[in-house]
Each structure stands twice: as structure tokens, then as C-alpha cells.
């Protein structure tokens, strides 16, 4: 689903955000991207959906060579994946239904398909009953559910999440992570960049750890800290 080979990213001011990153993520995987702030997690996600162009290396996402993508083809790439953010990025003057439908409308989808797929996405995230409410009337967790529904409404095979639970309390965080897991079980590949140690340690999924723009470790069933379970940290 995702293949990175020797990817580098340097900002114009000389900062090296990514340094020789190589990574393979298969179809249907659930991967955590961990590391301190400023180690390149967000940069890595951004080059995947071509918010920024890498300065070197090969990037393939769902069969699309992102590093060779012409600007006019970027919208096509974006329709292959969904992105979820810490701050939800919902439009406050549109209802939940409209926010989700918006993602289909702007791609020129038929009204028939919109009326069929929006309720399906909202039901999947458990927001069917709040479709007519505005984001301001929802809790943080509900807003993130709406954002996830928007990311999924076009049926992407890949979901990228940048600190999806950064603004949420522990209970809500657990609910959102369970939702992501459910989505993953339906076959969607999921990459989550996170700081949340508890979540990573509880879920025991593949953990890719980054430091200074490089991938330092990549474990199949990893913990937030290298080789340590949460209980070991607490006791030691």
C-alpha cells in the first residue's frame, strides 16, 4: 500500500525533516508512527498525501508514484486516501451531514451516491443520529468521528491519522482507537502518528519509531518505548 525508498525532505531553510527514510506498509496493516515532536512523523504523513513534495527518493501510495506526480494529478491521489487531524478540520457553518457530503460534492459525485454513502459513513462512526447538528454542538470525540466519516466517505483504501486523539480525553481516545480498529478490520490500511503511549502499548500493533527524521526501529508488535511494556516502565 505504501512504499518509501530513501526518501529525503529538506525545507528551504535547510532543516532536514526526513533523512533517508525507507518503509514498506502492506495492504490492511495498522501502523503506529511514534517519536518526539519534530522528529518527522507529520512530515512523513504529509509527503504521503503530497501536501509537500519530498526532495528525494521514491514514494508509492496505492500504486501511485507520488514523487513523480504532476500537480494536476494531486486531487486524484487524495481521492485514494483519507486524512484525519488532531484539530478535526470541520467546517463550523455546515452540519455533520454537510461536512461529510462536502467531501463527495467537491469531487463531483452524483447526488444519488452522496445520499447513499453519507448515512453509511455516519452510521459506521456512530453519528447517524447527530447528522443534522453543527460541529460546535458536538463533543471533541464526536467531532473526530465526523472527521473520520468524512475521510472514509469516498471509500479510500488508506487512512492517515495525524495525532487523532491529541485533543481527546482517555475514554474518548479509547473509543476513537476502537473505531479505527473496526475500520482496519474492514480492510482499510491505517497509519496513526501519535504521542499517546497508553494507546500504543495497549493495542500492540506494528510500531515505527522515528528520531531526527530517520526511522530508528520498526517492530511487528511493539510498545511506545523500545522493548519495554507499560508494566515494565511502571515497575522499573
Amino acid at each position: 500500500m505504501i512504499s518509501l525508498r530513501n526518501v529525503a525532505l529538506a525545507y528551504p531553510n535547510g532543516t532536514r525533516a526526513l533523512d533517508n527514510v525507507s518503509l514498506e506498509i502492506g495492504k490492511g496493516e495498522f501502523v503506529f508512527l511514534v517519536g518526539h515532536s519534530g522528529t518527522g512523523k507529520t512530515s512523513l504523513l504529509r509527503i504521503l498525501y503530497r501536501e509537500i513534495a519530498a526532495s528525494g527518493g521514491e514514494i508509492t501510495v496505492d500504486g501511485i508514484r507520488v514523487d513523480r506526480l504532476r500537480r494536476s494529478r494531486v486531487p486524484a491521489l487524495r481521492r485514494h486516501l483519507g486524512v484525519v487531524f488532531q484539530d478535526f478540520k470541520l467546517l463550523s457553518d455546515k452540519t455533520v451531514w454537510e461536512n461529510v457530503a462536502f467531501a463527495m460534492q467537491v469531487t463531483g459525485a452524483h447526488t444519488r451516491d452522496i445520499t447513499r454513502q453519507v448515512p453509511r459513513a455516519l452510521d459506521l462512526v456512530g453519528l447517524g443520529h447527530k447528522a443534522r447538528m453543527y460541529p460546535g454542538e458536538l463533543s471533541g470525540g464526536e467531532q473526530q468521528r465526523a472527521a473520520i466519516a468524512r475521510a472514509l466517505v469516498n471509500n479510500p483504501k488508506l487512512l492517515l491519522c495525524d495525532e487523532p486523539t491529541g485533543n481527546l480525553d482517555p475514554t474518548t481516545t479509547t473509543e476513537i482507537m476502537e473505531l479505527l480498529l473496526r475500520i482496519n478490520l474492514k480492510g482499510t490500511t491505517i497509519v496513526v502518528a501519535t504521542h499517546n503511549q497508553a494507546v500504543v502499548d495497549r493495542m500492540r500493533r506494528r510500531v515505527v519509531r522515528m528520531e531526527d527524521g530517520r526511522v530508528v526501529t520498526d517492530e511487528e508488535r511493539g510498545y511506545y518505548y523500545l522493548g519495554l511494556g507499560q508494566d515494565q516502565i511502571l515497575s522499573g
Partner: protein, 295 residues
């Protein structure tokens, strides 16, 4: 046609337009002022051009026949001038008719009875189709046998033609400036509405909307600004013309002109101004959205 899509699109345009009502009003107002100035200028210009053509078309070439010319020569002059494709009409004025006309003209000014002999030569009046050919026609008439002298208002023709070309040149410059000003104003307004919607644009790009799709509502907004602005300007111009035109005509009634012909075709001008307004609006917003999409 997918009615739902259309409805969504129109809704977006309408929401955009009403959300920044004050800003739209400013843009429409400024476009209106610009178009009023442009329209007034174009109106005066084509009116002057109309008057100019009329004045120039009254110019004629007077061919004075030599006193010793034979009737055969006089006929030959007329035949040759009639055959000239530049010539519209040829009229022979005998010395007798010429004197009668002069008497009539001087009646009440000078006591014409003092004129006992007839000093006037026979004259051939030539009207041309295109005023610019007056000098050339005069020159060719001068070469014919039996012609004593050829007279036309040389300097006047030249000046009128010159004024015409200067007006045209200045006019193009003025129009370009006006259109540019209107364009810049609309472009700035659209840039503000684009800025107000930058979050929405970012989300649109995130979920895979094409740049063309993102642009469309803004283009429509600019188009609407331009159209409404020029419509307002047209209303102002129509009212102003209704109030001023009769006064102008009555104030200048002494000038012998066909004022009806000097009047400007308002419908054509109105359509032109509407088209200019709409185009300027659309192009200006195309440019200002483009700056935002290049991130």
C-alpha cells in the same frame, strides 16, 4: 443534469456572495463608478465621432468652370466625375442659379439689387462618399480640361480627420486604464473572500477537489460583481442621459446638425459595458484564486 449538484454549486456561490455583503457592495459600487466613467467616455466619444462624420460628410468639392469652356467640356467634366467610384453625387449649378442662390442667402443682409451683372462662373458641386478622399477627388478634378479652379475646405477636412484619429488613440488608452482599475478592485475583493474561505479551500484540496472545481464559485462571484456593477452603472448612465440629452440638443439647436443621427446606439453600448464588466470580474477572480491554489 444532476439537479443536486447544481443546487449545491449555486448554494456555494450564493453563500459566498451574501457572507461578505459589505465587501461585495464595495466591489459592485467601485465597478459601477468605473463603468459609469467608461460608459460616459465611450458615449461622448461616439457622439463626437458621429458629429464629426456628419460635418465632414457635408464637405464638398466645388469645381469652377472656366468662362471660356465649351458645353462639351462642361459635360465631359460631369461625366468623368460621375464615373469616379469615390464620388457620391455631381450637381451642375449654372451661373444664373448660383446668383439666385446668392441673392436668397444675402436677402435682408445686403441689398442685392445693386448687383446688376453676374460675376459668378458656372459651378459643379461634387459630394464624395468618404470624406478622407476629398483632397484626392479635388486633385483629379483640377486636371480636367475646362476647369478654372477647384475649392474645398482643405484645413477643416484635415483637422476633423486628425481630431478623429487622436480621439480614437486617446480613447483606447483611457479604456485600458478604466478596465485595469476595475479589474484590480474586483481582484482584491475576491482575494478577501478567498482569504475568508481559506480553511474550506484547504479541506477541498485535502479531499481531492480539482483546482478548477475550487475556482468555479469564485469566478462566478467575480462575474456577478462585474455584471451587477455594470448594470448599476447602466442605470445611472440611462438616467443621466435622459436628463441631459434634451438640454444638450436644445442648447445647441443653433448648430445645424442632425441630432438624431448624432445620438448613440444605447443598446449596443450597454451590451458592451455589461460584457466588459462580466469579463473583467471573471478574469480578475481567476487570477486572485490562482495565487491561493499554488500552495
Amino acid at each position: 443534469m444532476d439537479w443536486g449538484k447544481t443546487k449545491f454549486f449555486l448554494g456555494e456561490v450564493f453563500r459566498n456572495f451574501t457572507r461578505n455583503a459589505a465587501m461585495q457592495a464595495t466591489a459592485i459600487g467601485t465597478v459601477a463608478v468605473t463603468i459609469v466613467l467608461l460608459g460616459a467616455f465611450l458615449f461622448v466619444r461616439s457622439m463626437l465621432a458621429g458629429i464629426g462624420t456628419q460635418v465632414v460628410s457635408q464637405f464638398e468639392v466645388a469645381v469652377y468652370v472656366a468662362p471660356d469652356a465649351t458645353q462639351k467640356q462642361i459635360d465631359a467634366i460631369q461625366t468623368s466625375m460621375r464615373a469616379d467610384p469615390r464620388v457620391q453625387s455631381v450637381t451642375f449649378v449654372s451661373k444664373k442659379d448660383g446668383l439666385a442662390a446668392l441673392r436668397a442667402q444675402l436677402k435682408g443682409v445686403v441689398d442685392a439689387s445693386i448687383v446688376t451683372s453676374n460675376p459668378l462662373p458656372d459651378k459643379i458641386r461634387i459630394k464624395v462618399k468618404d470624406p478622407t478622399t476629398v483632397p484626392a477627388v479635388a486633385a483629379s478634378a483640377r486636371r480636367l480640361a475646362g476647369v478654372q479652379n477647384v475649392v474645398f475646405a482643405q484645413t477643416l477636412v484635415k483637422q476633423m480627420l486628425q481630431i478623429g484619429s487622436v480621439l480614437r488613440a486617446v480613447g483606447i488608452g483611457v479604456i485600458v486604464v478604466f478596465v485595469l482599475v476595475a479589474g484590480i478592485i474586483i481582484s482584491n475583493t475576491i482575494r478577501l473572500t478567498v482569504f475568508a474561505r481559506r480553511r474550506e479551500i484547504a479541506i477541498m484540496q485535502l479531499v481531492g477537489a480539482t483546482n478548477t472545481y475550487i475556482r468555479m464559485p469564485f469566478i462566478c462571484e467575480g462575474l456577478l460583481d462585474g455584471l451587477l456593477g455594470s448594470a448599476l452603472a447602466l442605470a445611472i448612465l440611462a438616467i443621466a442621459k435622459g436628463a441631459l440629452w434634451p438640454r444638450l440638443v436644445s442648447g445647441l439647436s443653433a448648430v445645424s446638425l442632425d441630432w438624431k443621427a448624432a445620438n448613440v446606439d444605447g443598446t449596443a453600448l450597454a451590451l458592451e459595458l455589461l460584457l466588459v464588466g462580466a469579463l473583467v470580474g471573471a478574469i480578475a477572480s481567476w487570477i486572485s484564486v490562482g495565487r491561493y491554489l499554488r500552495t
